[in-house]
Structures are given as C-alpha cells and as structure tokens.
Subunit: 194 residues, 2 copies
C-alpha cells in the first residue's frame, strides 16, 4: 500500500465554503484537491493500492482527518471542483470517531499525531527534505507512507511528532516542488520499482 | 527552452462557457488547465524557461492556438478556475495572426501543423509512446518540445504530421499517465539533467 499524508494548515474545517472560490475562501483546500488527483489517477483508472489522509488544521473545528481509499472510492473525477464537493460533504458530517461520508471517503477528528502513530505501526514513514537520500536510489517497503505539507512547511510541533517515528528522509530532485507534483514524482518512481 | 504542445481535441473554441463547469461544458479544457499548472509551477515561482502551446480543435472555431510564455506570464495561479478565466479571455479575442490576450498569453488561428512545423525548425521534437526510449536514459537538446494529447490519442492525421518531423520517441514509465502528470515527469527529469 502507498499512503500519502498531506497537512492543510489553514483549511476551513466547517464545510461552509463555496465551490466557486476553492483557492480563495477555503484556506487553500485547492492544494489538497490537486494532491488527491495526483495520488489516484492513472490514464485508464484509479490506483487501488493508494490511500490518502488529509489532515485539516484550520478553524473552526480542527483537527479533521479525511481518509480516502483508492480501493473503495467512487464518484472521483480529476477536476478540483467535483473533488471539492466530496470533501465538503465529508466536513459537514464529521463527529469524532471515523465515519463514512461517501464510498471510499471517511472523516474523523483524528489529529496528525494520531494518524502518524497509527501508520508508523504498519508502514515505513517517509519525510521529504532537501538533504535526504535521493529518491531514485532508495528502496521502499511494500507499505510506505509519504508525509507532505501544503504551501506551508510542517510546524516544529508536527516535525517533532514525525521525527519521533524515525522516518526515512528522502529528496525528490534538485528543485522544490508543489505537494501535488511531489506525489506524481513518488508514484512514478514507485511504479518503476514494482 | 522547454516547450509543451498539448492538443485538446474537443475543447470549445467559442470562449462561451462557464467557469463553474470546466470539466463538463468545455470539451475538457480542465485537462489543459492542469497541464498549464504542471508546466509552470515550482514551489517558489514560475518556470521562466517553459513555453506551452494549447492546440484547441473543438467547435465552433477550430483551430485555435494559445501560447503561454513562462518568461512573460502574469496573473497565473495554480487553481483550475483562475487559469480557465485567462484562457477564456484569450478565446474571446482570437482573430487570425497571433495577438496578445494578457501578459504572457497569446492567441492565434495557427493549426497543429503550423505549430509543429515552426517548432521543428528550432527545437528537438519529442513524441511520447509506450515503445519509446526510456526517458531516464535519453539526453535532450537544450531546446526541446514535448507533444502531448488530452484524454484522446493524437488522430492519425496529427500523428502523421508529427512523424514527418522525425521526432524522438520517448517512454515515461511502466504505466500510462494523464497529460498533466506526464509534464511533471518530464520537467523533473530535465531538472535532474540540467
């Protein structure tokens, strides 16, 4: 299983936002929507061996975790707006423990620490840093989790939580890339190593 | 210079469409908007050494070519909707010869054959095919043009035009990827070879 955890530091957790202004009024949910596209879409289908966790840290109700299963997902299209509608629906249903919002989309009040702790018990954790090992020279476990952030870096607190679990440190290339582009780079590299 | 030519076979050339339904009512302009994101965005800026050509083949006014210069572009944001507005504005201004629609965005009635013929005179042309040479083993000229298609393959006529110019044939990886994802793969590979 490939897993991608993406932290949205300011993403609105109310679900009370307009699909017409995903980039302006949602705390940059648009970035995470592009990450979902990158994680799941192949030319002729959906990657069933992928799972995405969005950790939403914005007001008024943080944290919220949205988990998306490639094995179970339905009604996923590549465009930002339709995926925005699926995530908004999930936000409107959040309670505490994980519940299903729609096929393949689950929502809970899990924190970043909860999610990383759970995944570290069953998956290699990978942290992307410029001084890490070159992705192309790195072999990964069959169950691997990549941790990414939106347009802001992980906070010192989030980084401390992550480092506690002794992640692999990996570098993707000579420049610094958007989170959704990073996911493409990792997916294609893993495709070559399968 | 890196150039990406992307053919949108059904993209509406009237400019008369709604930004609220880019995936449903535009002949899949949404695909090309994601290609623009992939071509230009770095974490901390725009790739100035990139140029994108969108060849729009849909009704009612085909062909239309939109050229986007990374050196000159302004007002470009990563989300689909705002880029959709820039392209719509260009479509509303098309005449015959190339004119500037907004900073860095140019529109003309050039055809696929016109664009490829012009670029082949100054740039290595690359055609992506599953039986091509592995991208990672290929060295490219400093001025290189990658030709891609939207969710439909190039037509036999388009492929014949392309092959007439003796393109390099390149394979990106073991699976088949969306056009916007292909652009990420190529950009990052070129970054490593710079």
């Amino acid at each position: 299983m490939r897993r991608f955890v993406i932290v949205g530091h300011k993403v609105d957790t109310s679900g009370d936002f307009k699909l017409d202004d995903l980039a302006g009024s949602t705390g940059r949910l648009d970035i995470l929507l592009r990450c979902i596209n990158s994680a799941f879409f192949l030319s002729h289908g959906i990657r069933k061996d992928v799972e995405v966790y969005l950790i939403l840290q914005g007001e008024p109700n943080p944290p919220v975790t949205v988990r998306i299963s490639g094995e179970e997902i339905r009604y996923l299209n590549p465009d930002e707006r339709s995926t925005g509608a699926l995530i908004r629906n999930a936000l409107l249903k959040v309670e505490g423990d994980e519940i299903r919002s729609s096929p393949g989309i689950y929502v809970s009040k899990q924190s970043f620490a909860d999610v990383i702790s759970d995944l570290a018990s069953k998956s290699e954790i990978v942290y992307l840093k410029e001084d890490g090992e070159d992705l192309r020279h790195k072999q990964f476990d069959d169950d691997v989790t990549f941790v990414l952030s939106d347009h802001q870096d992980l906070t010192p607190e989030e980084e401390a939580i992550l480092l506690k679990h002794m992640p692999s440190i990996v570098n993707l290339g000579p420049l610094s890339y958007h989170a959704d582009h990073c996911i493409i780079i990792m997916n294609v590299d893993l495709d070559r190593k399968m």
